[in-house]
């Protein structure tokens, strides 16, 4: 026990003596949590619109003002030829072109239907799909408004009309920050837990101190625990700082209990520390460890459900996400913070993470040899 205590003392001393590490540990999460959630916003706004109005009627004007009043669109130009509009799209000055045909008002009044043409710049896929969807629902709404005006409603509507009204559970205002912040927090905890730990061990290899340690009677598990515990503690500190920032900056208060979050985080950190340890056993220089970490981080983030829902990934990718510990923590964090899930609700995820922790740590310990 005394040996472990001194190993820990030494480790903490080294960590707190390195200003770069301290900055990485404390400043990086703050910056990321304060900046990223504002940028990582799914809501598409400021879609640049070019309107080709061949009609110049009362209705076409009403239609355009309804579109711009929605707040999602910026009316960029108002032209009278389609070729000009398509040139605007080609020049990236507009995202969507709306063409209103010449007989728009007449057809609408007489035939009670009129075509509108939409051309969407699909270079940015998300913007194109969401923009077109927004626009379509506005057109639908406009159409219904007209019909309500024109058709004298009988007591029983001859055309059944279904109106869909949705209510957003657990995140009533559909605030994306509430959704993103827990996910980003997970990424931060992962980085500290696994990558700083692996870099730390590889540094001992690189400088040669591990050799000096290896000729001492220090036990394997003492050395490994001495490396894991400091980063386990740091991971929980980062989590605490992160939760504080998300409260102060975004007013996020977990709907579930902090206890659930910390229990899961404690288990999760065991798993990612095991991963860090495993990476360190394969690397002999910090550069190698760093590059492997970058590679893993990309996979973890993109296949972890942070930005894109896992359900929309192809089946093979969904299988990969099942072997990604980050997936589970993001899932659990969102469930606990937004939905208020209890420990019992996240038990399956907790078990999986404990299996991860067991497998990764055992693999790492087997791989870590005191003698070549």
């Amino acid at each position: 026990m005394r040996t472990l205590q001194f190993l820990l003392q030494k480790e903490f001393r080294q960590i707190f003596r390195d200003p770069a590490i301290l900055r990485i540990i404390f400043v990086m999460p703050m910056m990321q949590l304060l900046i990223l959630p504002w940028a990582a916003d799914y809501e598409v706004k400021n879609i640049k619109l070019v309107v080709v109005d061949h009609d110049h009627s009362d209705y076409s004007r009403q239609f355009v003002s309804k579109v711009t009043a929605s707040g999602y669109f910026l009316l960029n130009t108002y032209t009278s030829s389609y070729s000009e509009a398509s040139q605007q799209i080609a020049d990236d000055k507009a995202d969507i072109a709306v063409e209103i045909p010449a007989r728009f008002e007449k057809d609408l009044v007489k035939e009670s239907e009129a075509p509108v043409f939409l051309a969407v710049n699909a270079v940015n896929g998300v913007k194109a799909v969401l923009g077109a969807a927004y626009l379509q629902s506005i057109i639908q709404d406009f159409n219904n408004g007209i019909r309500a005006k024109w058709i004298q409603m009988p007591r029983l509507s001859p055309e059944p009309n279904i109106e869909v009204v949705s209510s957003n559970w657990y995140n009533p205002l559909m605030n994306y920050k509430w959704f993103m912040v827990p996910g980003i927090l997970v990424v931060l905890v992962t980085m500290v837990g696994s990558f700083l730990a692996s870099l730390n061990i590889v540094k001992e290899k690189e400088i040669g101190t591990i050799e000096q340690i290896n000729v001492t009677p220090i036990k394997k598990y003492h050395f490994i625990l001495g490396k894991l515990i400091p980063f386990w503690v740091l991971g929980l500190i980062i989590l605490t700082i992160g939760l504080l920032i998300s409260y102060v900056a975004y007013g996020i208060v977990p709907a579930g209990s902090f206890f659930t979050i910390y229990v899961f985080a404690a288990a999760y950190l065991l798993a990612v520390l095991g991963l860090g340890l495993l990476v360190s056993t394969f690397c002999s220089t910090q550069q190698q460890a760093m590059l492997i970490s970058f590679f893993l981080m990309m996979i973890f983030i993109l296949l972890g459900g942070l930005y894109t829902p896992i359900e929309s990934m192809p089946t093979w990718a969904q299988w990969i996400t099942r072997f990604n510990p980050v997936t589970y923590f993001i899932h659990v964090m969102r469930f606990v913070i937004l939905k208020g899930s209890s420990l019992a609700d996240i038990l399956p995820q907790l078990c999986i993470i404990l299996i991860f922790a067991f497998v990764l740590n055992s693999w790492a310990v087997i791989n870590y040899r005191k003698r070549a």
């Binding site: 005394r2 001194f6 030494k10 001393r13 080294q14 003596r17 101190t209 050799e211 220090i218």
Partner: protein
Amino acid sequence: MSAVSVNKLTKLYHTKKERVKAVEEVSFEVSKGELFGIIGPDGAGKTSLFRMLTTLLLPDGGSATVDGSDIVKDVKAIRKKVGYMPGRFSLYQDLTVQENLDFFATIFNTTVIENYDLIKDIYVQIEPFKTRRAGKLSGGMKQKLALCCALIHRPVVLFLDEPTTGVDAVSRKEFWDMLKRLKDQAITILVSTPYMDEAALCDRVALMQTGRILSTGTPTSIISSFASNLFTVKAEKMYPLLCDLEAWDGARDSYSFGEFHHVILNAQYDVGQLRTYLDSKAHSNVEIHTTQPNIEDCFMQLMQN
């Protein structure tokens, strides 16, 4: 019982194309309290040998015991009683001198105070810098700190891998004086070095090259076994002199040695023939002296055979 006993120890390194024999069937004995030097050029296998004896490498053949413990079976026992100072400074650069020493004392389950008498002579020299980080020390200071850390648990056998490489001449001399004093504490010391002149400072030496031990013995016995008649030769133009010596039948071996060339004559030749030969080659200001061979001469000769 000898402190270190090595019996046909072998270590192979596998590369894609070939197997390199880093240490090949090396055998020697070191008695208790002896200062034993392993002398050899870079790549002789000294570090591999030390790493095997300190349980950092597994041997591929042969056996060895350190203070009666087998280096393969009794790893834990050996780690408790040996001190190892690697050739490269490998203490925690971001910890201070004091912290490094405390740390290594603790992991050996001892304290600095307990064994202070052992390191006192060395430690007083670095004590003024005890709050300085190890990475910021000068080369000689680092060396002393590393020695302190290797000694802090009062090891039975101390392994020093090239402790004087890259250290200035004064510090080297100081370092050897320290080793002499440690010897008085009944600590067996194995030291490896590429410097031939340091061989004379050891009780016994083993000359090592390309994984083999060429000769073992006290420095004087190695020198006295050097049978040939050795002369130092000097002339106005040293390089043509060496070329001529190499071309001559009478010289078994010749090599430059400081400001002179050393020549070993074949049995049937004598110094007179050497002088007539050199005169016939029109060398001016020729000086020829008989000289006592030293370890380096022995090493050169052993390498030739």
